[in-house]
């Protein structure tokens, strides 16, 4: 059996996952990436999207809204501002985030930050439409 990856998924309100798993796929801001045990040290920001955890051929999916991943020799830690399991996600929970993203686009002070905000909004909308089918 290959080595296991120590994985922590932390949000400010609670510790969602703390377990040894086979592989985690992350929605990195520069593209999806899979992390296995003994991965090289890495820090990356995350975009809104899905994070899947594979362990013993079982797969659990989580959604994360904005966050940060750190891989070090101890394992993988994901700090997500908002996260939860895909099963049991409520449409109404996302309304607030959609509104916040809209506001951010409207109030962006310059083109650069507007572009960033629009991109973040796009990722969020893609996530919501995938979760709830439209």
């Amino acid at each position: 059996m290959a080595d296991k990856l120590k994985f922590n998924l932390v949000s400010p309100e609670q510790l969602l996952v703390s377990a040894d798993v086979d592989m985690v796929t992350l929605p990195g801001s520069e593209g999806e990436m899979g992390v296995l045990a003994n991965h090289a040290p890495l820090m990356s920001t995350l975009k809104s999207g899905f994070l899947s955890v594979s362990n013993d051929s079982a797969e659990t999916k989580y959604y994360v809204l904005g966050g940060f991943a750190e891989v070090n020799p101890e394992g993988l830690t994901v700090l997500a501002e908002h996260a939860g399991e895909v099963d049991g996600a409520q449409r109404s929970d996302f309304d607030r985030h959609i509104k916040a993203a809209e506001r951010k686009v409207e109030t962006a002070p310059d083109d650069d930050s507007r572009q960033d905000a629009e991109q973040a909004q796009e990722h969020l909308n893609a996530l919501v439409s995938e979760l709830f089918g439209g």
Binding site: E13, S29, S44
Partner: protein, 293 residues
Amino acid sequence: MPSLKELRNRIASVQATQKITRAMQMVAAAKLRRAQERVEQSRPYTERMASVIANLSASMSAQEGGLPMLVGTGSDQRHLFVVATADRGLAGAFSSSIARAARDKAQILQRDGKEVKFLFLGKKGFDVLKRLYESQTVEVFEVGTSGPTFADAELMSAKIAELFDAGEFDVATLFFGKFVSVITQDPTQIQMIPAAVEGGDGETLDLGGAAYDYEPDESEILKELLPRYVTTQVFGALLENAASEQGARMTAMDNATRNAGEMIDSLTLTYNRSRQAQITKELIEIISGAEAI
């Protein structure tokens, strides 16, 4: 000497008050347990965030300039005080001791000719400092009674970041009540901007000779992370405050219940005495009336 009826009414009213204070104490005890759990649950996130920022800023400071949020604007002339208190009273000196700490600091800074602005999280702090600093108050946020959520903290820190981007202040300091124990809450201040990150307590991970890969680069990550760090600190302060507030209220209401008990005892004693005095008086009247015949 109050009449018997007056005494009876007073005893009844103190008993009613005691019932309320006892209920409030028990509610605070239940809420305290929940608030403490939430502080515990938020700790891993806060600690990881702090260590990541410390790591990044250590490797950043060797390089050019750095972000204003991290290294400051190069001036410390204008200050923003973020004063986190409770929305409701009846919690002993909880809110006023935090407000007093902020006031003391503000007076020292103002004596040095510096400018201080206030942002209140929780209405009570504003009530205490309204008379002195109303014109310097930027905004008052309510923290609600059902415990702070991360969304609240996001709203508040968005306001702080907005003010900073607009160049309204150079240094932001956060005041809140650190929860030490049920009877002790420590008014604490933290400098939020520029981010005063300590050197990670000298504890660095051995990466086995490898260096971190950054995706995107370090400055991009820091730019993303610093506003979140502010949010995390605000959220942490709100949670600590929620626990401290309930602790303070529990102690205050425990005292109030005990005081009410003492008052009932002394009122009951007076009541019994005057009742006895009245009986004796009536007896004397009857007996002396009978003797006169």
